[in-house]
Symmetry: C2
Amino acid sequence: MTQSVSPLAPERPVDLPALDGVRIATAAAGIKYEGRTDLMVMVFDRPATVAGVFTKSLCPSAPVEFCRQNLPGGRALALVVNSGNANAFTGKKGAEAAQITADTAAAALGCDASDVFLASTGVIGEPMDASAFAGKLSGLCGDAVPDGWMGAARAIMTTDTYPKLAARTAKINGVEVRINGIAKGAGMIAPDMATMLSFVVTDADISSRALQALLSEGVEGTFNAITVDSDTSTSDTVMLFATGSAMDGDAAQIEDADDDALAEFKAALFDLLKDLAHQVVRDGEGARKMVEITVRGAASDKAAKIIALSVANSPLVKTAVAGEDANWGRVVMAVGKAGQEANRDQLNIWFGDIRVAASGERDPDYSEEAAAAVMKQSTINITVDVGVGNGEATVWTCDLTKDYVAINGDYRS
Amino acid sequence: MTQSVSPLAPERPVDLPALDGVRIATAAAGIKYEGRTDLMVMVFDRPATVAGVFTKSLCPSAPVEFCRQNLPGGRALALVVNSGNANAFTGKKGAEAAQITADTAAAALGCDASDVFLASTGVIGEPMDASAFAGKLSGLCGDAVPDGWMGAARAIMTTDTYPKLAARTAKINGVEVRINGIAKGAGMIAPDMATMLSFVVTDADISSRALQALLSEGVEGTFNAITVDSDTSTSDTVMLFATGSAMDGDAAQIEDADDDALAEFKAALFDLLKDLAHQVVRDGEGARKMVEITVRGAASDKAAKIIALSVANSPLVKTAVAGEDANWGRVVMAVGKAGQEANRDQLNIWFGDIRVAASGERDPDYSEEAAAAVMKQSTINITVDVGVGNGEATVWTCDLTKDYVAINGDYRS
């Protein structure tokens, strides 16, 4: 199904510069789509360190299980991603398809299958015939080139309407390092693990253990703080690789995530993760508006996040945003159903800068016109103070439109 | 906003016969709507016993708080319900409006305000001027007549497209008793407490304590097992009154819900609650299909219900149903995200009688045509066996259509 590009898309996608130590290739393997690429390989010149966070679904896909198995090894020589088929709920044949894919890449690169990582995205429950694209895969491993980021971002898209890329730089002990990242999302986006794929590579030299700590912390306020439809996929995967190529020479690998030398890198990484997460929300299926929801005054940061997600996932809040209706009563409803401590009679709610509710009732200065003007914007900030403590959290979502229903009522057929 | 009647509505609403001991009156008080009734009073000739279950929202409406306060008294002489304004998140003025309403009814009936129960449904956060309809209310208490059930069901509607009524009879110690019930629902329907109003009256003679036990148990598999959009209102209220009028004479009041004499009554009551709950789902905003989801093989009945509700609340499952797409992969996704024990490789899924997934993969005999035929029906049964135990639960929901978005994107304005 074809859709026009999301009105919330960046004006134009930015391509990324090459990053030392990684090469990329893509191909049209015809897994499901016609006339577009659907297979992507990243090849690391030398073993990269690796970290990953995966879906909390109890019915994970075969590639997720495969990655979990390889992750303790802490080294990666290749990443293979396909779109069009999620290889999820495909039983023993699914595990075999994952193994065939990894074996093929390993043979082409002369490495072990345990050094290969995989991700698949697309339809669930359809058997995936990996042998059908194994031939292409062998060639790809040899064809990979440094300048392939835009192609990679395009090859992993499913119902995405635009490719998602972001880059940052940072200094570690005086050496400039790069971070390049791509993501795909669109439907089934919800925290724990924002139902999407994202792959980030840096040329810094950081141990797998430190990478894992950085990534696990980094997703909390970014990929785990976005939601499109509260649905969690079987395939959510965020991986972070470090090639170490920028640090060649004297510098020792950084072993510890708390190393002071990583402060700037960590900030740049988290900023990149947030950038990609926002791009995913902005491409939410049928989205016309982005919504940032901040809850403060909660009993804890965790409580604040639960309340914020309750607001973000409420179909009634999301349809009100779609209708540009400043219906703060539905925000009250969503706060009330979250099950976290809140003081109804101290509740304050703002739409943008307009306080619409104060101390448990409609703001005495409430102006329908002022609130309506906020709702016409393409990004809407909703702030709620629940009046019981100092906990705070921000999450992001999009509106729920008729197009969401249209896209998802006709996705598989 | 006007909508045509839900295609899932009963062919024609059945009016209910009078029930001894209760009289009903309605009026058009102009609270919000024009050209229709919006105020309903039930008057009990003698003090009725009473039970209630209410929203678990932490931001409950003023009438919910008022009822909770009166419930321990265990006696009711009147019930006053208005539509158009929920009197929720209205601060101290909201509590005052509830008190004025109750005081007015109490004065007209010569009883205490603590014998009056209230419910309000409609917009949240708008101040409700009870004094504006207090005049009508005084008159109504005198005008009440036994034959007012259809009028009552109509007066409490908001976005409902049809009135919801049900009646049952049962024998208690050889005496036939009646149970009459009405409900309203449509949006914000989700368990804990299926975001709706329902009022049930029987002429049996049963203590408040026993009534409460019956009602609390009865809602579990009925009103607490339906969901339209996962949103929980601030006003959910189900009340059960017993006038005792059928039992005049020698029979003693039944004190205990476990009394064998109540077996038939209990079955009839639960059946009536299920009937009303289903009528609420069938009038889900924008609903075109009803979906019954049964989960079995779970670790416990409670786990089964959590999984079933995860499927029922998944926007991706609900849009697939709307699109008549037999997309069982989304059912797998919803099972996986429920967080309850499930054996992915033992999962079986049926759409109607068609097994679409077996032992963790697509059924070897899967037929797209057979599954598609099931999806064309107006009521769709989805059964999932998660393969770990004997827990079982059934819940009901409806599809998610463009009309849901249209109705809720334009409700308040």
